[in-house]
């Protein structure tokens, strides 16, 4: 019997779609699914989770003070406490920006093996599929140990409906507030209403073809119209057209959106490393002989300064 605990992420008081996808993935190979919720539980949260196969919904009952409840070191101790108390033998979370700061903390405290950025996981056999060598390889990894942990790449699996009856449980714990690490300040999620790169359905990315910083606003405008996340290649970042946080690639964000629209990006091996698991790639370039144009699903040969404004006009 595999008891899987799933760390749930929220956005605007709702369960993230990517978290529901992770629930679906876990439900394929675990016997029982326990959702670990850090934000307090509402009917809406319960409904969404039970509609996707979660049997038990646990309120981790973090302290109210935001600088304590947002501190990943505090969150990690709460997850560890729940894992031990509920005898979970598998723990999953998203390999999202927040997850990258939380799951390794949990793994370190539990001294349990963890694979991040899994595109697939079999909780029964304890194997995970993840990228290695910066997205150039796919490795199947066998985990051993009492508790096995998996960080799931957002969007790796889409949510599927699987209604089950769910019960809710509130954890009671004395939160251990660590003395050696305190959170002084933090930015709330997406102040500008932009989609996060790791979790967006559509990503529209610009590269050298944008030519300068001013032109790059075209990518941002188009992203807003498409409800997409804007992104950039390393060239655009190194040239100072956009901040590093927007970079996709080997030393940037690794993404798996439904659609990746590459505008004026030639497609270096390092850039592909960050986005080649996109379900669909649309390449826009005025040069037919680029790696991106050769390795995409739709090739749009033309001037992006004409095509992108036209897309915005037609939406």
């Amino acid at each position: 019997m595999k008891q899987a605990g799933i760390v749930i992420e929220m956005e605007n008081c709702r369960v993230k779609e990517t978290s529901l996808g992770m629930v679906t993935l876990a439900g394929r190979t675990a016997d029982s699914l326990t959702a670990l919720v850090m934000s307090g539980i509402s009917d809406d949260i319960t409904d969404h989770l039970s509609a996707h196969g979660v049997h038990t919904i646990v309120d981790l009952s973090l302290p109210d003070a935001p600088e304590i409840r947002q501190n990943p070191a505090v969150q990690a101790t709460a997850v560890v406490h729940a894992a031990r108390k509920l005898k979970l033998d598998r723990i999953l979370g998203l390999s999202s920006p927040e997850g990258k700061d939380l799951l390794p903390r949990v793994a370190a405290l539990l001294d349990a093996p963890l694979i991040m950025d899994c595109v697939d996981a079999d909780l029964n056999t304890g194997t995970a599929t993840t990228s290695q060598y910066s997205g150039k390889m796919m490795a199947k990894i066998q985990l051993t140990g009492e508790i096995l942990m998996f960080g799931i790449r957002p969007n790796a699996v889409l949510p599927e409906s699987k209604p089950v009856p769910a019960k809710t449980v509130a954890m009671t714990m004395d939160a251990v507030v660590p003395e050696n690490i305190s959170l002084l300040s933090w930015d709330e999620a997406d102040t500008e209403g932009r989609q996060s790169l790791a979790e967006a359905d559509i990503i529209i990315a610009g590269g050298r073809g944008l030519k300068n910083k001013n032109n790059f606003s075209l990518i941002f405008d188009c992203a807003e119209k498409l409800n997409a996340a804007p992104a950039a290649s390393r060239v655009a970042v190194d040239e100072g057209w956009v901040p590093y946080a927007f970079q996709v690639g080997q030393t940037g964000e690794k993404v798996s959106p439904q659609v990746y629209i590459a505008c004026g990006i030639s497609g270096s091996i390092q850039h592909f490393a960050g986005m080649k698991t996109a379900k669909m790639i649309i390449a826009l370039n005025k040069d037919e002989n680029t790696a991106m144009m050769a390795n995409c699903d739709y090739q749009v040969l033309g001037d992006l300064f004409e095509i992108l404004p036209e897309i915005m006009r037609q939406l």
């Binding site: 920006p97 927040e98 990258k100 700061d101 799951l103 390794p104 793994a107 370190a108 001294d111 991040m116 950025d117 990228s131 290695q132 060598y133 910066s134 150039k136 390889m137 796919m138 490795a139 199947k140 990894i141 066998q142 051993t144 508790i147 096995l148 960080g151 050696n180 690490i181 305190s182 002084l184 300040s185 933090w186 930015d187 997406d190 790169l197 790791a198 409800n227 901040p243 590093y244 946080a245 927007f246 080997q250 030393t251 439904q258 659609v259 091996i269 390092q270 080649k276 698991t277 669909m280 144009m293 739709y298 090739q299 749009v300 040969l301 033309g302 095509i307 036209e310 037609q314 939406l315």
Partner: protein, 256 residues
């Protein structure tokens, strides 16, 4: 201040990786210091300028040829290097134990810097495991670091430029991100000077390392090639835009 920098010897990011069997890569490609670790070494050098009686010790777990990565760290400003030598592929639980034991054997740290992840195994966790073994606080993807007395104030990057700022009590472990600094590019005199600095080699088997209660082991690996067959979208810009929108709506179903 004793500043330890943990660096990893990894295949060059621009190299094409080939397999020799279903588990191991052809390691005849060039190997370099992990790019994120360059930021860690650079930050260590900046800290030493601020706190002059500091010593920077670069530490690396790897095969004999990982010495060249330690040599790069010395050229970038580390004072000496320690190679924890092993021919084994180590997972993060084993690696953290070896680094922990090697740092204790060497004397003990006031601060441990490393990259936020390695570009080969992409584990993103060794820094947290080293921290837990020492019971030191850890942050990752650091974009700025300020040390005053026994505290470190660190801003860490989440996605989309979002920042979390922490205060840590020293000793602590910092996972460097790309936003932290611009890596030092050693000058020729730096390289010459680094040749005189010492690199000590310790066999991993000589260290007092406990067995990990779990493991992560590669059972198979395949190149990730997704051969796509591009279809052309032709026409005027207006027609091309209309077709892209149709594809987003009807095929990908990501647009209402």
């Amino acid at each position: 201040m004793q500043i330890y920098v943990c660096v990893k010897h990894v295949p060059d990011s621009a190299a094409n990786i080939h397999m020799i069997d279903n588990r191991n890569i052809d390691d005849s490609v060039p190997f370099l210091m992990n790019p994120y670790d360059e930021h860690a070494v650079t930050e260590a050098a900046a800290l030493k300028k601020q706190i002059p009686d500091s010593e920077i010790i670069a530490m690396c777990l790897g095969k004999k040829d990982a010495e060249s990565t330690l040599r790069s760290a010395l050229a970038m400003g580390a004072d000496r290097g320690v190679l924890v030598e092993t021919d084994d592929m180590c997972d993060s639980m084993t690696t953290a134990r070896a680094l922990h034991a090697a740092i204790i054997r060497d004397g003990g740290a006031d601060i441990i810097l490393t990259g936020k992840e390695s570009i080969d195994s992409e584990g993103m966790q060794t820094q947290f495991r080293v921290g837990a073994l020492f019971d030191f606080p850890v942050v990752t993807n650091a974009a700025s670091l300020e040390i005053t007395n026994d505290k470190a104030r660190v801003s860490c990057e989440l996605a989309g430029g979002r920042i979390r700022t922490y205060e840590l009590t020293l000793p602590c472990v910092i996972g460097a991100g790309r936003g932290l600094n611009t890596p030092i590019y050693p000058t020729f005199p730096d390289v010459v000077k680094s040749r005189k600095k010492s690199i000590e080699t310790v066999a991993r088997s000589q260290l007092d390392v406990s067995d990990a209660p779990g493991s992560a082991k590669i059972i198979s690996m395949t190149p990730l090639v997704q051969k796509r067959n591009p279809r052309k979208i032709n026409g005027t810009p207006t027609e091309q835009a209309a077709e892209i929108i149709r594809i987003l709506r009807q095929e990908a179903k990501v647009l209402s």
